[in-house]
């Protein structure tokens, strides 16, 4: 994949997890998930809606900040993206702090909508570009939202995939853990073991490479998707695709 960028690989890979959905929502500070959603929409034959927080063109809400959560609570949102300062092997995510909550070593912004959306959106894709033992840990220091819940807890949603700069994990809901699904070109299974702080399952047989986008997909990403995403993330679009105004 000499001439395919990591960003393009990720956009293509995420988009293939969105095809066929009716409504994909993307939170703040998420250029790659945003581009992936726009790519999926472009091949949906006008049957997918994409809402992107912070976008003027892709924001069709008219009932204030609560509407996106109401929509999710009602089952009108099929996929969403979450990240974590820490993510652990039970798919718990931490967006709050490292160390003691009351006197932390590090403090991050906060949990945003994760304490709700992770429970109700059927297909939550975890996205973390720093794949190290610092970020993918055995146990998070603060649970902004748990990966799994007790049987009696209302939980129509939850984790679906975890994608990093090194690989793609799928979620095993029965065993409540991650399973390595594919390794990005240029990376190895050994490296994944070394850099991951939690244990994870292996697939049967060989671990495949994450598929690279085909020529049509690549053209779509570099053309219309790059153009659309530049409305919201001009610096990203300029850096990765060389399009749009720089921020």
């Amino acid at each position: 994949m000499a001439d395919i960028l990591l960003e393009e690989l990720l956009i293509g890979s995420i988009a293939s997890n969105l095809d066929g959905l009716r409504h994909v929502a993307v939170g703040a500070s998420s250029p790659i998930p945003g581009a992936a959603a726009l790519l999926a929409r472009s091949r949906s034959n006008d049957s997918m809606r994409v809402s992107i927080l912070g976008s003027e063109d892709n924001n069709f809400f008219t009932d204030g900040g609560k509407e996106i959560f109401d929509i999710a609570g009602e089952g009108r949102m099929d996929a969403f993206f979450l990240s974590g300062a820490q993510i652990d092997g039970q798919a718990n995510i931490n967006l709050v702090s490292v160390g003691d909550y009351r006197r932390p070593k590090a403090r991050f912004s906060g949990s945003f909508g994760s304490g709700y959306l992770y429970y109700v959106v059927p297909r939550v894709i975890l996205f973390r570009l720093e794949h190290t033992r610092r970020t993918l840990v055995d146990k998070v220091d603060f649970v902004s939202a748990p990966g799994f819940s007790d049987e009696n807890v209302y939980r129509p949603g939850g984790p679906y995939k975890l994608i990093t700069d090194r690989c793609l994990f799928e979620v095993d809901k029965t065993r409540r853990c991650f399973r390595l699904q594919s390794v990005h070109p240029g990376h190895t299974v050994n490296e994944i073991y070394e850099q991951t702080g939690f244990t994870f399952d292996m697939p049967d047989g060989d671990v495949p490479n994450t598929p690279v986008p085909d020529a049509t997909t690549l053209a779509t990403i570099r053309g219309p998707v790059a153009e659309e995403i530049s409305e919201i993330y001009p610096a990203f679009a300029a850096r990765v695709f060389g399009v749009g105004r720089a921020a």
Partner: protein, 275 residues
């Protein structure tokens, strides 16, 4: 009924020490002009409520020592990174944190808006957000068997502070699609606002404008403040002052630098000229 019209400094007196203040996030309509007035009069012990998150406004108030409690789903400066005075205050445990998740704040405000004492919400069970919130409870859904759900008490801010593009002399405030501000005004005991312009006529007279207007019924007082959101922007109005915000973030990395920022841009009357 005519609106009470005040100067920005007078407006800030409607946020007494210890008040619960609801604030919007940076991308909505924030009154940084009133933020500076609060810092100048050395407001104390404020309880900030982010609806559902906060940004520069909260970071400045926290850094200036005006804040005792922060109740929010996040404090973020978005592309400018973590909020430095917020982060330092949490690490030093000099503020009390009430971490939340966005829809819990919206729902608890809706309970206040409706005059109901509580509202249930899905999610949260098994999270440390819930574990740390002694004021929230887990109960049963009375319409099902073995279906635990979180009960949130109504969240009633003493005052909502905002900066809007337009108001009229009756205190009606146009906020367009930013209806979280409508919810905040409904849910709070009082609402105060700086506005870019106070227009002639009545915003309620045109049904298109009316659809995005907070009725004066909810509004205690307004103050005209041109560029009152500066150094952040307001949607559909002006852009954020990017270089100033970068300068803030750089200076605010240390307590000394932050206080130098306050001297230069808040306490100095030069601040007015800078706007």
């Amino acid at each position: 009924m005519l609106a009470t019209r005040l100067s920005v400094d007078e407006l800030a007196t409607h946020i007494p020490d210890g008040a619960k203040v609801a604030l919007p996030p940076d991308y909505s309509y924030c009154s940084l002009a009133t933020t500076r007035a609060l810092i100048k009069r050395r407001a104390k012990e404020l309880h900030l409520i982010g609806v559902p998150a906060m940004g520069f406004q909260a970071d400045m108030l926290i850094g200036a020592g005006c804040v005792a409690t922060v109740e929010t789903a996040a404090v973020t400066l978005s592309e400018y990174g973590l909020a430095p005075r917020f982060t330092a205050a949490v690490r030093q445990a000099s503020i009390r944190m009430m971490d939340a998740t966005c829809p819990a704040i919206h729902a608890a405000l809706q309970a206040s808006e409706k005059g109901i004492p509580f509202i249930p919400l899905r999610g949260l069970i098994g999270s440390d957000i819930l574990r740390e919130r002694a004021d929230w409870k887990v109960g049963e859904n009375p319409f099902a068997e073995d279906d635990p759900i979180v009960y949130l008490p109504a969240l009633r801010p003493d005052v909502t502070l905002m900066h809007a593009p337009l108001a009229d002399k009756f205190g009606n405030i146009w906020i367009g699609v930013r209806r979280e501000l409508m919810l905040m005004a409904h849910a709070s005991a009082e609402t105060i606002a700086t506005v870019e312009d106070i227009v002639e006529g009545n915003l309620m007279d045109d049904e298109k404008t009316k659809a995005g207007t907070i009725p004066g019924l909810y509004v205690t007082a307004i103050a005209e403040a041109k560029r009152g959101a500066w150094p952040i922007g307001i949607p559909g109005g002006y852009e954020a002052d990017h270089s100033h915000l970068l300068r803030y973030v750089k200076m605010a990395q240390t307590e000394e630098g932050f206080h130098q920022y306050l001297e230069e841009f808040v306490f100095e009357t030069a601040a007015v000229a800078a706007e």
